[in-house]
Each structure stands twice: as structure tokens, then as C-alpha cells.
């Protein structure tokens, strides 16, 4: 038997992620694939904590902790520093959705506009988890967070970051999920081989933030794909869209929603609305994919 993902563990145990953290899984896969000639620029996010307290670190490659809004620009600087010294290193910005969709989007947009040679990875858990579950631009419609209380749950859809990035015409963009590590590994390999700004969004459930059972992390990540709530894609040069995981018989969204406390307050109408949105978005996506 061959293992379906790289064997070497670069990320070590003892880290401070919660039980069943999707973000920890995402990091584990990423390091396995990118290897040790990699450095991370990490802004404020759960990973600022997960990595462990000074003078400890769980990841065993260089991590440069940076300001919340500065994952991309710090990575650009690191890359430039290596380049001028003649060193060839994978420079990765590793940020949460808050640090990507919201406070970090400017630095990311700037790096992409310049086509700086960095790989930007966002592990998306759909809220500010490190500060205790506040809404982000990535939080889905109708979800509960502490700043979108049940009396007034999120009234805006999840920001379509992928289309935003595609509009930057970056050489490579992909979405991935912790439930599909082989697909993720492939995309990382591809991203690694390309020069310029690359962007990868990894869907990474967060049990406490989603009010979900830790054991369901992978299950939820899979259900998101199977219900077409989150689609696995690849985009080249912002123009060529491709679906890497085709779902023949999508499951109803309720199967995904019902396992999460953050959706507990949903009415039937809410669920139908979400289901409709999923269909609508799927059609829009099909249009882009050209199918």
C-alpha cells in the first residue's frame, strides 16, 4: 500500500489547537507537501496561538509572526530579502479568513497586483476564531457568531473571495478542503511549481466556532463539498476555471447545516433560502467553468 499523501510529518504534535481543529489539519497537509524549504508569514489568527508559546514552536520550519493585516506584505518582503541574497525559498503567507477577506485584503490585493512571488494560503473557518467567534467577511449567510447574534444573524452572504482573486488575474488560484487531502496535495504541488502570486483557500472547520462536535470536522468539510456549499476549484490566470471534484448527486444543505450549532436557529425558510443560494451560485460557477 502506498500512502496517498506525503509521509513525512513536519508539523509536530503538542500544538495548541482545539480538539479536531481543521486549521491544524490544513497546516499538517501543507507542510507535508511544501517541504522544509518553506517559510511562513503568519498574521494574527488561531495559528499565532496554535504554534505554541515562546520559545517553542510546533511547525519546525521558520515562522515569522506578523501583524494581522500584513500576511501578504510581510511575505513579499521576505521573498525580496531572499531573492536579493540569491536564495530560493517557498515563501508562504498563512492566514485565517479574517486576515484574508477583511483586514488583510489590501496587502493581498497589492501583492497580487505586483504579482509578487509568494504563495498565499487562507485556512478558512468562516469567522474570527482566535478572538472567540466574531463574524468575518467569510461568515456564511444566516450564521450565528457573537457579533451576529441569533436575534440578528449574518445578513450578508459569504464574500466571494475566489472571484475577487480571480479578477486579479493571478497565475494560480485554488480551493481545497481538509476532507480531500489528496486533492489539496496536488494543488499545493502545482502552486509550488508556479512563479508569481498564488492563492489557495482551504476550507477548515472549527468545532468550537461552529458549535460542532470535534469528531465531525472532516465530515463537515466533506459535506460542504457534497452539498456544493464549498466547491473544489482551480483557476489559472484568473480566467480558466476548472472543477477538481465533481459532485454528481449533491446532498441537501440541511445535512451540512444540522450538524452545526451556529445554524441551530435556522427556520425552514432559512434553510430553503440557503439551498436556493447554493443552486444559484452553482449555476454562476458553471457559467465560469464553461459547462
Amino acid at each position: 500500500m502506498k500512502l496517498t499523501i506525503p509521509e513525512e510529518e513536519i508539523m509536530g504534535h503538542g500544538h495548541l489547537a482545539c480538539q479536531g481543529c481543521g486549521g491544524a489539519l490544513a497546516m499538517r497537509y501543507t507542510l507535508k507537501t511544501l517541504g522544509r524549504n518553506t517559510v511562513l508569514s503568519v498574521p494574527a489568527c488561531c495559528w499565532s496561538v496554535i504554534d505554541g508559546p515562546f520559545p517553542h514552536s510546533a511547525v519546525n520550519i521558520p515562522v515569522f509572526h506578523t501583524a494581522f493585516e500584513a500576511a501578504a506584505s510581510t511575505a513579499s518582503g521576505i521573498k525580496a530579502g531572499f531573492e536579493i541574497q540569491g536564495k530560493d525559498v517557498n515563501v508562504v503567507a498563512w492566514a485565517g479568513d479574517g486576515g484574508t477577506y477583511d483586514i488583510g485584503i489590501q496587502a493581498l490585493s497589492g501583492a497580487a497586483e505586483r504579482n509578487d512571488d509568494i504563495l498565499y494560503i487562507c485556512y478558512d473557518n468562516e469567522a474570527y476564531m482566535n478572538t472567540g467567534v466574531q463574524r468575518s467577511g467569510s461568515t456564511p449567510l444566516k450564521a450565528w457568531t457573537t457579533t451576529t447574534p441569533v436575534a440578528h444573524p449574518k445578513d450578508r452572504p459569504k464574500k466571494d473571495l475566489i472571484s475577487i482573486m480571480a479578477a486579479h488575474r493571478m497565475p494560480y488560484i485554488a480551493t481545497a478542503s481538509v476532507a480531500y487531502p489528496e486533492d489539496l496535495t496536488e494543488k499545493l504541488e502545482k502552486a509550488k511549481s508556479i512563479k508569481g502570486t498564488r492563492f489557495l483557500l482551504i476550507f477548515s472547520p472549527c468545532p468550537p466556532g461552529w458549535r460542532a462536535d470535534p469528531k465531525n470536522t472532516v465530515k463537515l468539510a466533506r459535506l460542504a463539498v457534497e452539498t456544493k456549499v464549498f466547491n473544489l476549484l482551480e483557476i489559472e490566470n484568473g480566467l480558466d476555471w476548472r472543477i477538481t471534484k465533481k459532485i454528481r448527486k449533491p446532498k441537501p444543505v440541511i445535512e451540512y447545516l444540522k450538524l452545526q450549532g451556529r445554524f441551530r436557529h435556522l427556520t425552514e425558510d432559512d434553510v430553503s433560502l440557503i439551498q436556493e443560494n447554493v443552486e444559484k451560485e452553482w449555476n454562476i460557477l458553471m457559467n465560469k467553468v464553461g459547462e
Binding site: G12, H13, G14, C18, H56, V178, P181, K219
Partner: protein, 107 residues
């Protein structure tokens, strides 16, 4: 390479502290097995060695032990209870009914 350590390092004196906050040690000291409420146990009788559990453990707290059988390289999952947080992903994802069962950690 960073050093492993059995105890959390706290520098006692300024002179021992590096000039900036750089890591010098791994997180191995942090025995997250203590966080566990429920303990996964692999029933090797049933386990097929598909390594799905290994693949999905976020810690990682399942080692992939290589061995040879019938001239073929195979893997066997071994849970590291020092670090397993008991999240439950492995038993949910294991495709073989009963290959991972659970026990309550207790008083």
C-alpha cells in the same frame, strides 16, 4: 533543528533569554493527552491498515508504522496517547466498523 523538551521552557534570567522571541524548542513538552475525555482504541483484528485515521488526525497523534508483509511495504496506525486529544475524527472517519472503538477517560 529545534530541540525537543519534556518541560515547558521558561527562561529564568535575562542572560539566558535570546534577544528576540525566537523559538528554540518543539512543542513536544505539551502532553495534550491530558485534554482527552474519550480515548480511541484500535482493534488491530479489524483494522485493514488503510491509514485513513492517520491521514485525518490533526495533531498528528497517529503514527504510520511501516512494516513488511508478503514482501510488500505496509503501514499500521499507532495512536500516540501522549498527544491524542480525543477529538474523535479517527473513529468517525475509519471506514471499518469497530476498527476503532472508544473508552471514557475517567477518574
Amino acid at each position: 533543528m529545534p530541540e525537543k523538551t519534556e518541560k515547558q521552557i521558561v527562561f529564568d534570567k535575562v542572560k539566558d533569554t535570546p534577544p528576540l522571541a525566537v523559538s528554540l524548542y518543539t512543542m513536544d513538552y505539551n502532553k495534550t493527552g491530558s485534554w482527552r475525555n474519550v480515548r480511541p482504541v484500535i482493534d488491530y483484528e479489524k483494522c485493514t491498515g488503510c491509514m485513513t485515521c492517520w491521514k485525518f488526525c490533526p495533531e498528528p497523534a497517529i503514527d504510520a508504522e511501516k512494516y513488511e508483509e508478503d514482501g510488500k511495504e505496509k503501514y499500521k496506525p499507532v495512536i500516540d496517547y501522549e498527544y491524542c486529544k480525543g477529538c474523535g475524527i479517527c473513529w468517525v472517519e475509519c471506514p471499518v466498523e469497530g476498527a476503532i472503538y472508544t473508552e471514557e477517560e475517567g477518574e
